[in-house]
């Protein structure tokens, strides 16, 4: 097996050629040793998290990119600030779907190190299980499982092989993709197909050649048979294996033959040459707008395969890559609704106090725990249309009228002062110079003679800054 080989070659003598190869291939520049401007700090906090707080900015400006990335890859997280409630009542995540969503949103808002939650959400999108099909306890437990693989401080050796093994027999997954109905003699191909199509390989490789055929799906399904879910106690569902339901025969798929069980079957799938490129490309696209160039992709694939399919080494490469900082003066990635929502709450100092953010997330098109199908959400430009732009704006507009957002009234405030105060209250995010001028112009031409006028002016200023078009990119 590939893993054994890797362990054996893990010596200085055999690392040297790799280094030589790398020198010849001239790998893309890393920014690991670059000292960060505030813009670069912001970029990393948005791409690897949910935006910076003012304290994050202060703490990291002037420090090296690699130092922040290493901190994210090795730390906590710790939840700081006000614990979540829903209209004054403590959350009951497995009893109430809104609380389920709020419980996760709260973690995103209050984590000192946001990367673990960001990664957990990446895997949630990747596996696409929905609360519509499985119980809240099952999917809650699955997210906890994904979180343990994403908390790299506590789980430094977190690797994709272990993750795929665990998810294959996870109760939520067994139910969602009907693995529990996969029995010797009556194979159910649902999970087998998605394990290859969506989770590990993709339908075709970069040249458009199919990565597997229908016979591979059928044979793989046989190997995965025998697992069931026990939900007798809905508060503690678990999966179990029944020997008599497993097909013990020899299966042949992806060019390998054997009396494979589920564990071995996952290894066969992961040994497919398109696995690493497929997953590395997807992981990269989570953080960087421009697709990886061939050299970068090859470097990531190489690192991934050589380092035991562990996440930390490849994440460090991606997050310190210069491409992460491309178009630094004008952010070039559209915030997903969940990143936008958690980010706005962090920027405004909001905590989870009611179900309003979830209602907005639903209209924005990204209700956590409810992806549209097993392929997850559709990212990119489709996030924005005439409907979703309004709900994005409204999220901020509603926040501006609620506590604990600063509602101070300053009667003699000049337009510039009003602008500055609104800008600070919304976290000082990116605004193009042009739109900065337009918003300041709004402050200048809007009367502030009465308390109500000044209040409205503050709310509109803040909404335009964070909820307007420039607030949608990171």
């Amino acid at each position: 097996m590939a893993t054994t080989l890797k362990a054996r070659t893990h010596g200085a003598a055999l690392r040297a050629p790799a280094r030589r190869r790398r020198r010849i291939r001239k790998p893309p520049l890393t920014y690991a040793d670059k000292r960060m401007t505030t813009q670069m700090v912001d970029r990393l906090w948005w791409r690897a998290g949910f935006g910076p707080s003012e304290a994050d900015r202060k703490a990291w400006t002037g420090k090296r990119v690699g130092a922040l990335v290493d901190w994210m890859l090795t730390t906590g997280p710790t939840l700081i600030g006000q614990p979540p409630v829903n209209n004054g009542v403590a959350l009951a995540p497995t009893a109430n779907d809104t609380d389920l969503v709020l419980e996760w949103l709260d973690r995103m808002v209050r984590s000192d190190n946001p990367l673990p939650e960001r990664l957990t959400f990446f895997w949630h999108d990747h596996f696409g299980n929905s609360r519509n099909v499985v119980s809240s306890q099952m999917i809650f437990n699955q997210i906890s499982l994904l979180r343990s693989f994403s908390t790299l401080g506590a789980n430094a050796t977190s690797d994709v092989r272990s993750l795929m093994q665990a998810i294959t027999v996870d109760p939520s997954m067994l139910r969602f993709l009907t693995g529990e109905a996969n029995v010797k003699g009556r194979p159910n191909e649902n999970y087998a197909r998605e394990l290859m199509e969506l989770f590990c390989l993709g339908v075709t490789d970069a040249q458009g050649q199919p990565n597997y055929g229908e016979d591979d799906v059928k044979e793989l399904a046989r190997a995965l048979s025998g697992w069931q879910v026990n939900n007798t106690n809905p508060a503690a569902p678990f999966s179990y294996f029944t020997q008599s339901r497993w097909d013990p025969g020899v299966k042949t798929f992806l060019g390998q033959s054997g009396a494979f069980n589920a564990t071995q079957a996952v290894d066969v799938v992961l040994s497919h040459p398109n696995h690493a490129p497929y997953l590395m490309r997807k992981l990269w696209n989570e953080f960087v707008q421009t697709p990886p160039d061939p050299g970068t992709l090859a470097d990531l694939v190489n690192t991934y395969n050589r380092r035991g399919r562990r996440l930390r080494p490849v994440l460090r490469k991606i997050l310190t890559h210069r491409s992460l900082f491309e178009s630094i003066a004008e952010p070039n990635m559209i915030k997903s609704p969940i990143v936008y929502t958690a980010g706005a709450m962090r920027a405004m100092g909001m905590f989870v106090v009611n179900g309003n953010p979830r209602s907005r997330l639903q209209v924005m098109g990204q209700d956590p725990y409810f992806p549209p199908d097993v392929s997850g959400w559709e990212y990119g430009p489709a996030w924005l249309d005439t409907n979703t732009s309004i709900s994005r704006f409204r999220l901020i507009a509603d926040f501006t009228g609620s506590q604990p957002v600063d509602q101070t009234d300053i009667p003699g405030e000049t337009p510039q002062q009003a602008f500055d105060r609104a800008y600070a209250a919304t976290g000082g995010g990116w605004l193009s110079p042009d739109n900065r001028a337009r918003i300041l112009d709004y402050a200048a031409r809007t009367p502030g003679g009465t308390l109500s006028q000044r209040r409205t002016r503050q709310r509109v200023l803040r909404s335009l800054m964070l909820g307007g078009p420039d607030g949608q990119v990171m």
Binding site: V133, S135, Q228, N231, P372, T386, T456
Partner: protein
């Protein structure tokens, strides 16, 4: 295999190959990512037509005075686009409403086989969920005039035994020459070698092609024949922008089913002009450009809709989102906004279990809502301008399953209705006898692309061959009618 009463397990098993399906009634179900191209929805080309004095008056009437006095209106892109959209004025009198029934509607229990041999086969395949032959109450079926006794309406009956609406659209004769026959039925419509995945099938129906596409078939039509400034030319009501109208260049929009206060506001006060001042800066990257363009379009749509009073039509089924969406569609189509296309995504037709309880109430609402919509359009004097198409991503298996439902199958019913539509039997009913089935599925008698081609060539205008890849598609009707539309 499962604990008794384990609802989740039963639910999951019913949906064996469709865990990838949705249950949300949003048509956002990609196989591959199908991003709207960056230039889509941009809609702010340079050199849009200047506006006449009349248009400017109309423009200012819509509530821009305060804003226009601060900024030179002509320099703001969305204002230019708005002016140009208003200046475009009247559009051709052919409008299309696409109603997508989400989940795969079962045709067998919508239009029941009536010929004895076919009915017997149907009844044998569906011992539990079959509809009776004849009868006037729920659970019965009523033979359809003009089908030579081949098909009967089912599930269009209301509690008091009166037919629910499809019969009024169908008319007393079902004859394509009869002006009262305004519903064309294609009982088993799909594509060759149907794929039983919800999202593959949906994507292909939406793309109008048997492959993934970044644009929908109507989006491509808009790119070629539509407006480059008016996002209201194609509107998805009650969901985000449908994949059907995703375009490479043409602006399109989505609005909620309740229109009230559409636009940007803070604490209830509109701030569309303020937001509109932020969309004109030139962006250096596609994402920022996209964001500003969409915000600009939202402002534009809010302004265009600002002068519209929504007057919901009468006699629609109560408490139904389909009613609300069709009511809003009628208002928009009659409001001289340049709207050519409306898409509506509705329902939950993935009836793997207990189908009768799931499908019947929805069909009742559908039938009544469609007939109310037709009357609504007639009341507004625009029924000659509107064609409505009802379709689903696939049909269902001929036989029932052990859960009293039906699994994913081939050949679902497609309906085209409108005053200008030649009603009648457009496609052949699929045989239910064993020799006529294809591995337990209905034989597909109509390729949906032939209907699309007629909708383009005969109704919307344009060249279907330029819009639909994969060949030349010609509709041949079962009842011998020469075309889908009246001259």
């Amino acid at each position: 295999m499962h604990e008794p009463g384990d609802i989740d397990a039963i639910k999951a098993l019913h949906c064996a190959d469709c865990a990838r399906s949705d249950s949300a009634a949003l048509d956002l179900a990609p196989v591959d990512h199908m991003p709207i191209p960056t230039e889509a929805l941009t809609g702010f080309p340079d050199g849009v037509p200047g506006m006449s004095r009349l248009d400017r008056r109309r423009f200012l009437r819509n509530g821009f005075v305060g804003f226009a006095s601060v900024y030179a209106a002509s320099k703001i892109p969305w204002v230019k686009a708005f002016e140009a959209a208003v200046a475009e004025g009247a559009v051709p009198n052919s409008k299309l409403v696409m109603v997508f029934l989400n989940g795969g509607n079962d045709g067998g229990n919508t239009f029941v086989p009536f010929e004895q041999a076919q009915y017997d086969a149907y009844a044998a395949l569906r011992p539990t969920i079959k509809r009776a032959q004849g009868g006037t109450g729920p659970g019965g079926s009523t033979v359809m005039p003009g089908t030579a006794g081949r098909l009967a309406f089912a599930n269009v009956l209301t509690a008091n035994g009166t037919l629910g609406g499809l019969d009024t659209l169908w008319g007393p004769t079902g004859d394509f020459n009869d002006p009262a026959s305004t519903l064309a039925l294609f009982p088993a419509t799909d594509y060759p070698n149907p794929n039983f995945s919800h999202f593959t099938s949906r994507d292909w129906w939406f793309a109008g092609a048997l492959q993934q596409s970044t644009t929908g078939w109507l989006g491509r039509w808009l790119d070629m024949y539509g407006s480059n400034v008016n996002p209201l030319q194609a509107v998805s009501i009650g969901s985000n922008v449908s994949k059907m109208i995703r375009a490479a260049k043409a602006p399109v929009s989505s609005v909620p089913e309740t229109l009230g206060g559409f636009g940007f506001n803070v604490g209830g006060a509109p701030v569309n002009t303020e937001v509109g001042s932020l969309v004109g800066a030139v962006a250096g990257n596609a994402s920022t450009a996209r964001s500003r363009a969409v915000y600009g379009q939202t402002v534009q749509v809010a302004q265009q809709l600002g002068g519209v009073t929504h007057t919901p039509g009468a006699n629609y089924p109560a408490n139904s989102s389909l009613s609300r969406r069709l009511q809003l569609a009628a208002t928009l189509l009659s409001a001289n906004l340049g709207t050519r296309i409306v898409t509506i995504d509705w329902g939950s037709f993935d009836t793997h279990g207990n189908q009768v309880a799931g499908q019947d109430p929805q069909l009742t609402v559908l039938a009544q809502a469609l007939s109310a919509f037709q009357a609504d359009l007639a009341g507004r004097g625009i029924d000659q301008q509107v064609t409505t198409v009802v379709f689903s991503e696939f049909g269902r298996r001929a036989g029932e399953n052990l859960s009293f439902g039906t699994d994913h199958g081939a050949g679902g019913p497609l309906m085209v209705s409108g005053t200008k539509v030649r009603g009648g039997l457009g496609g052949a009913p699929a045989p239910m006898t064993s020799s006529g089935l294809v591995r337990g599925n209905l034989a597909v008698t109509t390729d949906f692309r032939t209907v699309y081609a007629s909708l383009i060539n005969e109704w919307l205008g344009g060249d279907a061959a330029a819009v639909l890849p994969g060949g030349t598609f010609t509709l041949t009707r079962e009842d011998g009618a020469p075309s889908l539309f009246r001259p």
